[in-house]
Symmetry: C2
Amino acid sequence: MRDFVYNIPTKVYFGKDQFSHLGEEVRSFGDKVLLTYGGGSIKRSGLYDRVMEELRKAGMQVWELSGIEPNPRHTSVQKGADICKEHDIDVILAVGGGSVIDASKYMAAGRYYDGDVWDFHGKMIPIEKAMPIVTVLTIAATGSEMDGTGVITNMDLHIKKGRAHPLLYPKVSFLDPTLTYSVSKYQTACGAADIFSHTQETYFAREDGMYFLDTVMEGLMRTVIKYSTVALKEPDNYEARANLMWASSWGINGFVRADKPFPWSCHPLEHELSAFYDITHGLGLAILTPRWMRHVLSEKTLGRFVKYAVNVWGVDESLPAWEIAEKGIECTEKWLYEDLGLTDNLTALGINEEHLETMAERVGGKIHKGFVDLSKEDCLAIYKACL
Amino acid sequence: MRDFVYNIPTKVYFGKDQFSHLGEEVRSFGDKVLLTYGGGSIKRSGLYDRVMEELRKAGMQVWELSGIEPNPRHTSVQKGADICKEHDIDVILAVGGGSVIDASKYMAAGRYYDGDVWDFHGKMIPIEKAMPIVTVLTIAATGSEMDGTGVITNMDLHIKKGRAHPLLYPKVSFLDPTLTYSVSKYQTACGAADIFSHTQETYFAREDGMYFLDTVMEGLMRTVIKYSTVALKEPDNYEARANLMWASSWGINGFVRADKPFPWSCHPLEHELSAFYDITHGLGLAILTPRWMRHVLSEKTLGRFVKYAVNVWGVDESLPAWEIAEKGIECTEKWLYEDLGLTDNLTALGINEEHLETMAERVGGKIHKGFVDLSKEDCLAIYKACL
């Protein structure tokens, strides 16, 4: 068990009647706000008007940046950082899902950097200061509302990359499950796959960690499995949306990862997929995860697979160990591809062998000291199994 | 499911090699520190010297207040608040268990109040400002290291009372499981009963809450049950001490209680016991809890008892519901009185019927809107069942 520092400063207003606190919280950081959002669904849903009304009541001056992409581009981030510099903005209010929040984190840091925001990756310039961020979450998926990580994409270089820093935690997040009633079945399923993956990637680590945190992760995975299927059948089931939303935050905010600071596997594999094909992150994870599981299952890793199958899926622990492990993977596949209805292969997405070698080359060395080290050949085999 | 605000700002250094950060963290709040501790065990263990060395290296001026009682008296709190006022102290460093930390919280608030600190209870004067507190935890039990609650006792009035306020959360806490190796078997058992009770009191609530949080609470209780017995057999088992320590913080820091802000039952019953007889809090809870369970078990509450028995104790869910519930209570008793070896009745502690009526009178009305409302008669019946 390793030492760790727990430090999650985000304050969260959770529930359906918390919106009246939005103005006072944003206002506590100053009177100039940059409102960031995506493609305009918040205008159709009426959320935009509700947010503007609260900001108006709080006496805020509002600038806007819309059109942030699902895999947010560094070019959009640059625009936001430039607006913040030009108008000396005090606080960013990100209204949307993980993409809008992730992009806003880089704007918050970029506001204090006189150069291209991609330098945070390309040149790994240090993050020394960042503006405060307040978020209103509209989809349960990435957990960006309560973590210090942002992922952005440079489509020119085909690079999708994340970076974490304590200064990037949102100061305040508003989590209203009713805002996710209108999330489509497809996006709900992809979000669930993403939340599940965050937890599962930490759960499958090369060292056993604290038992207590394992029980929390098992509970998180059972929660996502149980309520994702409910939310697909009943999009406005509050209990389902609330459980998914709070699970999205706790799967990745650092709490369960405490003593297991090891590299993940499926996320780096997926980032290459998104960088080349711009596919939905959760869908990429859903296609990759069971293939990765089969690839790394061995006598050495069997114990963790057995624990997973028994404690997450309720597989009968009196069966032979290999049979238990296999059933755990089968349950995962059934949930992802049948219950959630997600596509189970890359070919159906129009992806062929063309770039797989390059992707495997780029990601191979990175998954060192993960659950199982993956060479270029391992990565290529996993990608090919996904076709 | 109810709306809630999540706001736990405490930063935690967890592990066996984190002590080198103590000086810098304390120093970040100023250069005058009041060091508070209990009966002197930290001197015998060498912890006092280690703390002083870190404070010296950080250039701190140190004042001391020792002798804080296991059920801390308001008189000790007053002394601490007065020292802070007189010397314009910047920060309190509490080294000890829940009693030292609880007392320090009231000193931190009392430093800004020109009157008797008992007024925080007697007159319910508002808490508007409090000094920063840093803690070094030496026993896993109350969770005070990561919550905003303090409980102090006025022995003149026989009142033991708690109060919570966001300003009372410690800013930084150091949780080193090795510091609890020397905790006696008895105190380890009482601490485990306390951690268990915090979780169990939230778990048994009058409304069902978020499923995800129920899974966390079930994991917390399983963790305490599993590792308390390990720690009794092997006091220097790091895994056991670490699991108990982190569970102590998360059982009560507000996370699992989020959407269940209902009054507890056994804690108010126990506070009367401690106020009259100065017994160890965890022991009082251990004696009370199973009696309370039997008293409130009914057709109406059966469902929660079944869930508890199956998910915490692994009772066979194919049995009849009442049998499952009964087995859950029996498992609780076996763990508390056999595995932990705690006394199972008040008579053995020299307590008789004398004050029970008064205690029941005082606590009866308070447990309104708890899991089951308890009248004076209910409380008296529970106390008598403990004799």
